[in-house]
């Protein structure tokens, strides 16, 4: 028996270093296999085509900020304005975090925390968590920007190149650790649905707040620049000065200060600033370590066990009574029971989904923001009515754009519940009809709200333009619904209605929806230009788009009649994919 144990121990007793290397290469291989195997699924070829198209676009999106960061650095250093390097550094840190929040997980994902069940050393686990996130879009974009900054500084002042490269490298490490730290801790806090929803709400409110602040700041800057010098609020001035001085003690300000001090010959201060940055890096690593170590030792992040709440009979009767009254008021008696029940379900889902509610708020909010820019500017160079007259059209077009996500993956939030549609005695057409009805109702409410808002905030849109916009909106909506309903069944992706970040989306669906929106917007723009060119009334556009809307409605009706057949032929893939949520 002892001999047998010896043999077995010899078999597995490979060196620890060798085991680590083996584990790293195994995980690299695993990620590659997950990617390759994902191409074997139904519709994977389409997804691959979508990736081939979208990756160069993403690369272009990275190229823009990188070029900007490089040029800005070159300009600041060549003009002797090194402290201003803090500006692109701040922008990079913000982009790094916000790209991470807004980018969707288009590919297969792998939760590295599951590795803790293997015989893996903590040091290797930490390294894996750090290194396997380096290829994500925000990190790549941030690194490109920092490399461009180094090049810009190097061209402007070659003597500063080495020092700035060291500073920016440490800054990059600092930001990688910072984003990993934030991600690891939010993962901990968001392990429960309620905190996840709360966080979603905060993100959405912050996003609206940033846009409002941006507009307010723009107005303020314009006022200052236009020569109408008004006294700056002393409190604002004091706050701005305070923020600038604090900036030199924070990670984005420290590399700028270090480069500036070295340029000024103050080597000791330059080194001190770099050491400050290193201290931040170490701090982020420590905080990240605390989280990952707890994860490594094992912890349960699931939902808290249910607390048994015993209600008194009286309160239960009361709740049933109130439920009965609320439900009777929310019935849709003109619809068939199946459509009505689905519609009620959709309304409930909508009211419990922060991101979907955000879609409701955004168009009206954007109209409000546009109205703040009441500069008399003739937007996009067309329209005799300027921004005031065309705000309603912009609002409706923007609403259509926001609806695309809902329309092209309308079954995504139903998850495993989708199986029910095939078990129950109902037609799939009714399920989609209820979803489309809700979209239509929301769009109608949005359009009315936007019209009312534009009328109050600036001037009401002219009648002909309003009619043309409504006709265009109907044409676009029915076209999107016709294609979106089919795509929702053919290429579904499970999604969490409470989450903003990392929602699974079909790349091909995104590409198709983008193409449809572009075609509709281009058609709309051409028609509006034609009306302008011919000095014709917008009634021409109204007539044209009404005809097109009738055509797309007919197309929608045909698709809906075939909906049961389409759903039946994709039932297996649809239910299997959405049940994996």
């Amino acid at each position: 028996m002892a001999g047998m144990n010896e043999v077995r121990m010899t078999e597995i007793a490979i060196g620890t270093g060798q085991l680590s290397r083996q584990q790293f290469s195994t995980i690299t291989w695993l990620r590659w296999r997950i990617f390759v195997n994902s191409l074997r699924s139904k519709g994977a070829k389409g997804e691959l085509v979508a990736k081939i198209f979208s990756y160069p676009l993403l690369a272009l999106m990275v190229l823009g900020p990188s070029t900007g960061a490089g040029l800005a650095s070159w300009y600041f250093v060549s003009q002797g304005m090194e402290p201003y390097l803090a500006i692109p550094l701040w922008i990079i840190v913000l982009l790094w975090q916000f790209i991470g929040v807004s980018t969707s997980a288009t590919g297969p994902t792998f939760d590295l925390s599951t590795l803790t069940r293997f015989p893996i050393r903590y040091r290797d686990y930490l390294l894996m968590r750090l290194s396997f996130g380096l290829m994500d879009p925000p990190t790549l974009a941030g690194l490109c920007c920092l490399i461009a900054m180094s090049i810009g500084i190097g061209i402007a002042a070659p003597a500063l190149f080495a020092w700035s490269a060291i500073n920016l490298f440490v800054y990059a490490v600092c930001l990688v650790l910072f984003s990993r730290m934030i991600y690891a801790w939010t993962e901990r806090w968001l392990a429960q649905r309620r905190t996840r929803e709360l966080f979603t709400g905060i993100i959405l409110v912050a996003s609206l707040g940033f846009q409002f602040a941006g507009q307010a700041f723009g107005r303020f800057a314009q006022k200052m620049g236009s020569g109408h010098h008004t006294a700056v609020n002393p409190f604002l001035e004091k706050t701005a000065k305070g923020l600038v001085s604090v900036n030199w003690w924070l990670p984005p300000g420290l590399p700028a200060a270090s480069i500036d001090h070295l340029h000024a010959g103050l080597t000791s201060l330059a080194v001190a600033a770099l050491l400050g940055l290193l201290a931040y890096t170490a701090l982020f690593l420590l905080v990240l370590h605390l989280r990952l170590h707890a994860q490594y030792l094992g912890e349960n992040l699931g939902e808290a066990p249910a607390t048994a709440r015993k209600k008194s009979t009286a309160s239960r009767i009361k709740s049933v009574a109130s439920q009965t009254s609320s439900e009777s008021s929310s019935s849709f008696s003109i619809l068939s029971p199946a459509v009505a029940a689905n519609l009620i379900k959709e309304v409930r889902y909508l009211l419990r989904s922060g991101p979907k509610l955000y879609v409701l708020i955004m168009p009206v909010f954007v109209v409000f923001l546009f109205s703040m820019r009441n500069t008399g500017m003739n937007y996009a160079g067309f329209g005799p009515h300027g921004i005031e007259g065309i705000l309603f059209t912009y609002g409706c077009a923007y609403t259509q754009l926001l609806f695309v996500g809902m329309i092209y993956n309308s079954l995504g939030s139903d998850g495993a519940g989708t199986r029910f549609y095939f078990i129950a005695p109902l037609r799939f057409r009714d399920v989609m009809l209820a979803k489309n009805l809700l979209t239509f109702i929301i769009f109608s409410i949005e359009a009315i709200l936007i019209y009312v808002a534009t009328s109050f905030l600036s001037t009401p849109a002219p009648l002909a333009l309003t009619a043309a916009t409504i006709a265009w909106s109907l044409f676009t909506l029915f076209l999107n619904l016709s294609i979106g309903n089919v795509r929702s069944i053919v290429s579904p992706k499970a999604m969490d209605p409470a989450k903003v970040r990392s929602q699974n989306v079909s790349g091909l669906n995104s590409l198709i929806s983008l193409a449809v929106v572009i075609v509709c917007v281009v058609l709309g723009s051409i028609m509006f230009y034609i009306c302008q060119y011919l000095h014709a009334s917008y009634w021409l556009a109204t007539a044209t788009f009404s005809g097109l809307a009738a055509l797309t409605f007919a197309m929608y009706a045909i698709v809906m009649n075939r909906m049961d057949g389409i759903a039946a032929s994709h039932a297996e893939n649809l239910t299997a994919t959405l049940s994996k949520a």
């Binding site: 249910a306 029940a341 379900k345 409930r348 139903d414 495993a416 039932a571």
Partner: protein, 271 residues
């Protein structure tokens, strides 16, 4: 039994996934009022069969008759008469339990008052009545199972299909489910059940079918199955009565040709 008289009957039921035949030429007949257990090892074709019987998957060939109606031509009518607890439960996580039951009731065409009354009774019976404000997504697995069963019976189905109903359910909840299922059988309903917990199947089911590699290899009452695998050694040991687990192992073992000697040779390095 004629197909018209049977609660469920299949003829030449086959399902292929590309070259792979998941279910092959299955001829099955379940009489009304039977508690029918459908067994098989992992990957044998149980879930594929139950998916076809409940309309979640179309057969490649063959036919399914439920309560004398052809599933292919009368799918809506058939679905009105059956209740299903599928694999994955098919719940809508963002609804509360009572909202979900109301939704399901209306989908099956029940009026609002009946739906509310039945959902109250079911929630009370399943000990879920205290969880009125909680979303289903926050329920434990056992609670979700109970809710799925409540949803499957709210319209009073004549046939109930259950795919692994006792998996992940605690003893108290399992007791509640069994009590409910036996009550349904007593009132004349037919239950078609798949489970890996053979003790429960043995205790509940009057008839059992075993599927392996997509083919039906045994079908009948428990006594008939016992007689089918009876050996001389069993006759010598008169006091021993074969359990369903022993029957299952013998049937599947015979089919797969596995022997104890083979098993012993394999994994000799283990332990």
């Amino acid at each position: 039994m004629k197909a018209m008289d049977a609660a469920i009957s299949t003829s030449g039921l086959t399902r292929r996934f590309g070259d792979f035949v998941a279910v092959q030429n299955v001829n099955l007949s379940v009489a009304p009022g039977q508690f029918f257990g459908f067994l098989g090892p992992n990957g044998a074709g149980k879930s594929t069969t139950i998916k076809m019987l409940t309309g979640l998957l179309a057969p490649t060939s063959g036919s399914i008759q439920v309560l004398g109606m052809d599933f292919a031509t009368h799918s809506i009518e058939v679905k009105r008469q059956i209740g299903v607890v599928p694999e994955g439960l098919a719940l809508f996580g963002r609804l509360t339990a009572s909202e979900y039951l109301r939704f399901v009731g209306q989908m099956y065409g029940l009026d609002r008052a009946t739906t509310l009354q039945r959902s109250e009774e079911l929630l009370e019976f399943m000990s879920l009545a205290g969880e009125t404000k909680k979303l289903i997504t926050d329920f434990s697995h056992g609670m979700q199972k109970k809710l799925a069963l409540a949803a499957a019976v709210i319209h009073g189905p004549k046939i109930l299909f259950l795919d692994e109903p006792f998996e992940g359910v605690d003893a108290i909840a399992a007791g509640t489910l069994k009590q409910m299922l036996q009550g349904m059988i007593a009132r004349g309903a037919t239950i078609f059940l798949t489970s890996h917990v053979l003790e429960i199947v043995e205790r509940l089911c009057s008839h059992v079918a075993i599927i392996n590699h997509g083919q039906l290899i045994a079908n009948g009452s428990l006594e008939e199955l016992r007689a089918g695998v009876h050996t001389q050694a069993d006759s010598d040991n008169a006091s021993a009565r074969l359990t369903l687990e022993e029957i299952f192992i013998r049937v599947i073992g015979k089919e797969d040709g596995a022997t104890n000697a083979q098993s012993e040779q394999e994994l000799s390095w283990l332990g």
